[in-house]
C-alpha cells in the first residue's frame, strides 16, 4: 500500500510542482478573459461608424425624436438626412455615407422602403436606423406606451419547479454551462496527456523495467491513474476558485455579471459526471500508453479517444437549440460524449432524472471496463518493446497465449 502512495505522490509532484504546470493552470482563466474581450472587440468592430444617410419623403423623421443610444460595445452610427436621392447618391459614391434609405411618401400605409448601397451595410447600422424610425413613429402614442415599445421587453425564463430562473438579458448566465463544460474538458484533455506521456516515457527509457522489480503492476497503474486524477482535480479546483472570485468581485463593477449565480446544481452534476469521466479517460490513456512503443504513436492513438470527447463542443449550437432532440439525447448517454453533452443540456433544459442516472451509470460502467482493460494491457505490454501489443491479445482469455 505504501508503494501505491509513493507512485501517486511521485506522479502528482513531478507535474504539479513545475513551472509548466503553473503556466497551464494560469492560461485557462487568462484565455477565458481573452475570449470575452475578443467577443466585445468583435461586436465593437462590427459597427461601421460611417454615417447612414436617408431621404425621407413621408415626413415621419421630421418629428425630431432620437432613438436611445445603442448598448455598448455596439457604437452609435450617425444618421444624416438628404434632400434628394441625387445628393445621397453623390455622398454614397464619395464614401461619406455607408448606405442610404429612401422612405416613400406612403410609408405608414405600405410599409415599403428602399436601401441603396455599394457594400451591404452591417446589421448594427440597419438596426439603429430602424430604432430611429420607431422612435419617430411612436411620437403620436401615449408616452408610457411609446416608451415600452421602444425599450422592448425583458423575458425572464423560469423552470416549472422554480429551480432555475434567468433573464434573457443576462447572456453571461446563459453562457455559464458552456464555460463549465469547456473547463472540465480541457482538464480531462491535459491530464490524460500527462498520463500517456508518463507511461510511454518510462517504457521508452526503460525505467519501467527497474520499477517492476519493486512495485506490482497493479500498484503502479493505480498509483499513476489516481495521481493523474488528483492533478486534474487540482486544476479544476484552482480554476473554479478563479472563476468564483472573478464573479464575486466583478459583480460589483460589471453590469453583465450581476445576474450570474454560481450554479450549485450544475456543479454537482458536473462533479458526478466528471469523476467517472476522468477515470475512464485516464484508464484509456494508460492502456494506450502500455500498448504502443513510442510517444508519437501514442499521441496518434489517443487522438482517437479525444475526438469523440470534443464532438459535443463542435455541435454546441445544436445542443443549445434543441437539447431534447434524439441525437443529443443519444450523445448524452454515450459514455465518450456524455460528460460535455450532459452538462450543456442541463443548462438549457430540464433533463429527466432517468437520463442523468443512466448517463452516469453507463459512464461508471465504462470507466470500470476501461480500468480492467488498462490493467490487462499494462501487465501484458509494459515490458514489451519493438512490437506493438495487439488488442486481440488484450481481450484474449486470461492465461491464454495469443
Amino acid at each position: 500500500m505504501t508503494k501505491f502512495w509513493q507512485v501517486l505522490r511521485h506522479e502528482y509532484t513531478r507535474h504539479v510542482f513545475q513551472r509548466r504546470f503553473l503556466f497551464a493552470l494560469l492560461s485557462v482563466p487568462f484565455l477565458i478573459l481573452v475570449m470575452i474581450g475578443m467577443i466585445f472587440l468583435m461586436v465593437g468592430m462590427e459597427t461601421d461608424t460611417t454615417p447612414m444617410g436617408y431621404v425621407d419623403y413621408s415626413g415621419i423623421l421630421s418629428h425630431g425624436r432620437t432613438a436611445p443610444p445603442p448598448e455598448p460595445p455596439e457604437r452609435p452610427v450617425p444618421m444624416q438626412a438628404f434632400e434628394s436621392e441625387q445628393a445621397a447618391e453623390t455622398a454614397l459614391q464619395a464614401g461619406e455615407i455607408q448606405a442610404y434609405y429612401i422612405i416613400p411618401e406612403d410609408y405608414t400605409t405600405s410599409g415599403k422602403a428602399e436601401l441603396v448601397y455599394i457594400k451591404e451595410p452591417r446589421y448594427a447600422a440597419r438596426g439603429q436606423f430602424y430604432d430611429l424610425l420607431l422612435a419617430n413613429l411612436m411620437a403620436d402614442q401615449p408616452p408610457e406606451i411609446a416608451n415600452r415599445i421602444i425599450e422592448g421587453n425583458e423575458i425572464i425564463v423560469r423552470a416549472a419547479d422554480a429551480s432555475q430562473e434567468v433573464s434573457e438579458n443576462d447572456f453571461f448566465a446563459v453562457l455559464m454551462p458552456i464555460f463549465t463544460g469547456i473547463i472540465f474538458i480541457v482538464a480531462i484533455a491535459t491530464t490524460s496527456g500527462y498520463l500517456l506521456q508518463a507511461v510511454v516515457e518510462e517504457k521508452e527509457n526503460r525505467t519501467m523495467e527497474i520499477m517492476v522489480t519493486s512495485v506490482s503492476p497493479t500498484q503502479l497503474m493505480a498509483g499513476k491513474i489516481l495521481g493523474d486524477i488528483a492533478i486534474g482535480l487540482t486544476q479544476l479546483v484552482v480554476w473554479s476558485i478563479f472563476i468564483a472570485l472573478g464573479i464575486l468581485i466583478g459583480r460589483d463593477h460589471l453590469e453583465f455579471l450581476q445576474g450570474v449565480q454560481i450554479p450549485i446544481g450544475q456543479l454537482a452534476l458536473a462533479a458526478g459526471l466528471m469523476i467517472p469521466a476522468f477515470i475512464m479517460n485516464a484508464a484509456f490513456m494508460a492502456a494506450v500508453g502500455a500498448t504502443v512503443t513510442e510517444a508519437r504513436e501514442g499521441q496518434q492513438v489517443s487522438g482517437l479517444f479525444m475526438l469523440p470527447i470534443w464532438i459535443p463542443y463542435m455541435l454546441i449550437a445544436l445542443i443549445m437549440e434543441s437539447p431534447n432532440s434524439p441525437i443529443v439525447v443519444a450523445m448524452s448517454l454515450f459514455p465518450l460524449t456524455a460528460p460535455l453533452t450532459m452538462i450543456l443540456r442541463a443548462g438549457f433544459t430540464t433533463v429527466p432524472a432517468w437520463q442523468i442516472i443512466a448517463s452516469i451509470g453507463l459512464l461508471s460502467l465504462t470507466a470500470l471496463g476501461a480500468l480492467w482493460l488498462a490493467g490487462r494491457a499494462f501487465r501484458l505490454g509494459m515490458l514489451r518493446y519493438g512490437q506493438r501489443l495487439r488488442w486481440k491479445e488484450v481481450f484474449a482469455r486470461e492465461g491464454a497465449k495469443a
Binding site: 411612436m138 415599445i149 421587453n153 423560469r158 441525437i327 433544459t349
Partner: protein, 411 residues
Amino acid sequence: MNKIWIVLKHELITLLSRPSYWFAILGIPLLATVAYAIAARANTDSSTQEVITQLIGSPRQITSQGYVDPGGLIRLLPEGTPPDLLIAYPDENAAAQALADGKIAGYYLLPVDYVQTGEIIYTSADYNPIAAQGNSAQFEWILQYNLLEGDALLASLAYGPVEVKQVSLAPEPQREEDNPLTYFLPYGVTMIFYIVILSAASLLLSSVSKEKENRILEILMVSVTPRQLLAGKIIGLGIVGLLQVGFWVGTGRILLAAGKITFNLPDVFQLPPSFLVWSLVFFLLGYAVYASLMAGLGALAPNLREASQVTIVVIMPLIVPMFLINMLIEAPNGIGSTILSLFPLTAPVAMMTRLAAGGVPLWQPVLAAVLLAITALLVVRAVAGMFRAQTLLSGQPLNARIFFKALLGKA
C-alpha cells in the same frame, strides 16, 4: 544527384506505405463528400430532410401557450391567430395547474406594472433560455398589437419596414452578407492551407529528428552528404504534401461546382481556375520556407520532444493569420490584410484567404509570390548551412536562441 534520388524515394515509399497517411489525405475529402451528399439529398428529397429534422429537432411539443394578465392588457387577438395558440388563465395557480396537466407548453405572466418595467415572466416545463427567446416572439407581437390599440400595420412597422428593396450600386456582383459561404469559403481555404503546410513541415521535422535520435543519421552520414540528405527529404516530402493539396483543393472545387446545380449557388462562389495555380504556387513556396525551418530544428535538437517545444517559435507567423482570420475575411482588401498577405512568412495562408474572398488585384499575389520565393531561397540556404555533420551528430540541448543564431550562421 543519384543519392538525392535515393533519399527522396525512401521518404516517399515510407510515407505512402503508411495507412495513417492515406487516412488523412483521403479522410477529409471523403467526409466532405459524404456531408455534401447528405445535404444535397436533404435539399431535393423531402423524406431525407424529414429524417434529419427528426433526428436533430426537438421532439414534437404542445403548441398552446397560456397567459396570465391581471392588468387586462390583452383585449384582442390579431386576425389569423390560431384559436388555441394562446389560452387566458385568471391567475397563476390555474396556469400552473394547466402546465402540470400538460395542456400548455408554458405560460406568460404579465405583471401589473408591465408597462413600466417591461418584465414578462415565462414559465415552461422545458426550461430553455435559448429556445424561449425564439418562442416568445409570437406573444410579444400580440402584446405589441394590443398596446397599439390593434393597429396591425403600425405594430409591425415597429420592427422596421415591412419590405425593403435593396439596390446595390456595386459594379460587380457581390457575395451576399447573409450567405454562410461568404464566410466559410475563405475560412475553409485558410484552414486547408494552414493544416497542409504545417503537417508537411512537421513531417520533415519528425523525419530528421527521429533519424537523429535513433542514430541512423550517423550511419547515413557515411555515404550521403548532409545537403543531399536535406534536398532529398525536402523534395520527397514536398511531393507528398503537393498530393495532399491537390486532393483537398480539388475536392473542394468539384464540390463547389456541383453545389452550383444542387443548391443554386451564385457564380460569385466559384473559385476561378487561376486559384488552383495560385494554391500550388503558395503551397510550394510556403512549404519550402517552413519545411526548411523545421528541418533546421530537427538538425539541432537532440530528440523529437525537445524539437517540438521550440516548434512554436517557428510556426508562430503561420498562426497569426488564423488569429486575424475575421479581419482577412471581412476586409480582404484592407490595409491590414494586404500587409499580412504580402509579408512573406504570413503570405502563404493570408494570400490564399484573400484570393478565396475575392477581388485581389493581380499584382499583389505576384508580388507576394516573388517576395516569398526570395525568402524561401534565403531560408533554404541558411538551413543548408546548418545541415553539417557537426550539428547533426551533436547532442546539445536546444532553445529558440540557439536556433536563430544557427540560422544566421553564427553558431
